[in-house]
């Protein structure tokens, strides 16, 4: 880090002499293979109305640019070549978190990192505060948005999993107005969603977690920040006798969409919180695992992991509930 350059570019403090730059440009042009986005028209509306109008005009030729943490890699690798890119980072209406009674509405443009620290989220939606730190790295979460993660609809992604566990509702807006789609039907296939070509995700509504409910999010990934091999999000309520009175279990990474482990939920409802009982019930999730062998894991290993994360998350959520949950 010791600066040895003596000739410096006056334009920016600290910049080395332009010759380095000249060589780089020549090199990059010569190899001609650099990972760079294709050409597109860049549009940056200030208002939601303008964003919706642009999306309506260009339909599937246009892609929304939110946090860019999934779209920019696709552009750099030229896996996506939209003719129009609609940057919604200037639409401040999409960046609010608001509570209306028993519902918290999170705007599509809210940064993922904001969910980790926002006091309202920590109090009213503790599962989100627990799940979000598993999304990539902080440098990704500083840009990545809630709406982008939902729209991208990766089956291993944490936020879609929390939406399915929480019975959240995704709010879409198109030229014909707004509609609300339950998370369970919003994710309708491998990396696809119910958003029409002329629509945007504008918000997601989560029911406030009841006082005393416990939450847990457990994930297994190869390295810190990697997508989950398997993850489970759980909301549990336990009565004075230590029995499950409510249980919602979501699993990510094991099928083409995030799933509810309804078999596990049904088996445990009314039963006592007991590690052996939970471990046995969690095995029921294995039947729902449809992801085949891939470079990250075999299908058999994923089945094992699915049962493991479900078991751990259910026990952790029950323990959290017995300790009073978030309140």
């Amino acid at each position: 880090m010791v600066a040895t350059t003596t000739v410096r570019d006056s334009r920016v403090p600290g910049a080395p002499s332009p010759t380095t730059h000249d060589r780089l440009v020549v090199y990059r042009t010569t190899i001609g293979q650099a990972m760079k986005p294709p050409r597109f028209q860049y549009r940056d509306p200030d208002t939601l109305a303008d964003a919706v109008a642009l999306k309506a005009r260009h339909g599937s030729d246009a892609l929304i640019l939110a946090g860019g943490q999934s779209l920019m890699p696709m552009l750099n690798m030229r896996l996506a070549a939209p003719s129009v890119v609609i940057d919604i980072n200037g639409v401040t209406d999409l960046q609010q978190i608001t509570r209306n009674g028993d519902v918290v509405e999170i705007g599509a443009g809210v940064r993922q990192s904001a969910l980790e620290t926002d006091p309202l989220i920590r109090e009213a939606l503790p599962l989100l505060a627990r799940a979000v730190p598993h999304i990539g790295h902080i440098e990704n979460r500083h840009r990545g948005t809630v709406g982008g993660s939902l729209a991208h609809a990766d089956a291993s992604a944490e936020l879609p999993c929390t939406a399915v566990v929480s019975d959240a509702v995704v709010v879409l807006q198109g030229q014909n107005g707004r509609r609300e789609v339950p998370a369970s039907s919003f994710f309708d296939g491998f990396m696809t969603n119910a958003c029409a070509d002329d629509e945007l995700v504008v918000a997601v509504r989560y029911p406030v977690t009841p006082a005393g409910a416990g939450t847990a999010f457990v994930e297994v990934a190869r390295r810190n920040g990697d997508f989950a091999l398997a993850a489970a999000g759980v909301i549990a309520e336990v009565d004075g006798d230590g029995r499950f009175t409510r249980l919602a279990v979501g699993v990510a990474g094991v099928a083409s969409v995030p799933l509810r482990a309804t078999d596990v939920e049904q088996e445990l409802l009314g039963r006592p919180v007991d590690p052996a009982t939970i471990e046995a019930a969690a095995k029921r999730v294995e039947a729902a695992v449809t992801t085949g062998d891939d470079i990250h894991a075999t299908s058999a290993y994923r089945k094992h992991l699915a049962a493991t994360v479900v078991s751990r998350a259910v026990l952790a959520a029950a323990t959290d509930a017995r300790n009073g949950g978030n309140r």
Binding site: V12, G14, K36, P38, R39, Y42, N140
Partner: protein, 175 residues
């Protein structure tokens, strides 16, 4: 020519003039709207400390501070940085005859070998010390996990962050 290149060729080159603050100085340039922030910093401003390893958000070597927060400059367009404040590691060496305490700490602890990850590591180090997130080795390891280092095995970087945190103690170390 691939299909995507065909489609791409149909769209005209589009440029915009942007103004932003880089390392404490206002900069105004005309850029192609598809230019990434990383390429803009490297090629237009000659800030070649911004290292491109993967260009898809994984390696972290292009990390810069955008309004004080660490972000991947390969995953932003230059136009998106208009009106914002950017710091690259060059901002730490305003005084060319002295090292910044973080740089000193990296030198003392041998927190670098080839140096490819170092600008990003140093900036992230600055951010986590300011955020008061350099309390334990485990915490530091977790907080720097978004930047890959292929040389050091990380331990010396962790030591450097702790050393820098002590040097800056009180001044920058947060709550």
């Amino acid at each position: 020519m691939t299909t995507t290149e065909h489609q791409a060729a149909a769209v005209d080159t589009e440029t915009r003039t942007i103004t932003l603050r880089v390392n404490g100085r206002d900069v105004s340039r005309t850029v192609e709207t598809r230019t990434t922030l990383a390429d803009f910093l490297r090629d237009d401003l000659d800030l070649v400390s911004v290292h491109l390893g993967c260009e898809h958000g994984v390696c972290g070597c292009c990390t810069i501070l955008l309004d004080g927060e660490s972000v991947r400059s390969c995953l932003m367009l230059a136009v998106q940085a208009r009106g914002h404040e950017i710091e690259t590691v060059e901002s730490l060496s305003a005084d060319q005859n002295a090292l910044h305490p973080i740089q000193e700490a990296f030198a003392e602890e041998q927190g670098l070998q080839c140096g490819f990850c170092t600008p990003a590591m140093v900036l992230r180090c600055k951010e986590i010390i300011e955020d008061g997130k350099a309390r334990t080795d485990d915490e530091v390891r977790h907080e720097i996990s978004g930047i890959l280092c292929r040389c050091t095995g990380y331990q010396n970087i962790v030591n450097a962050v702790q050393n820098a945190s002590r040097k800056l103690g009180g001044k920058e170390a947060g709550a």
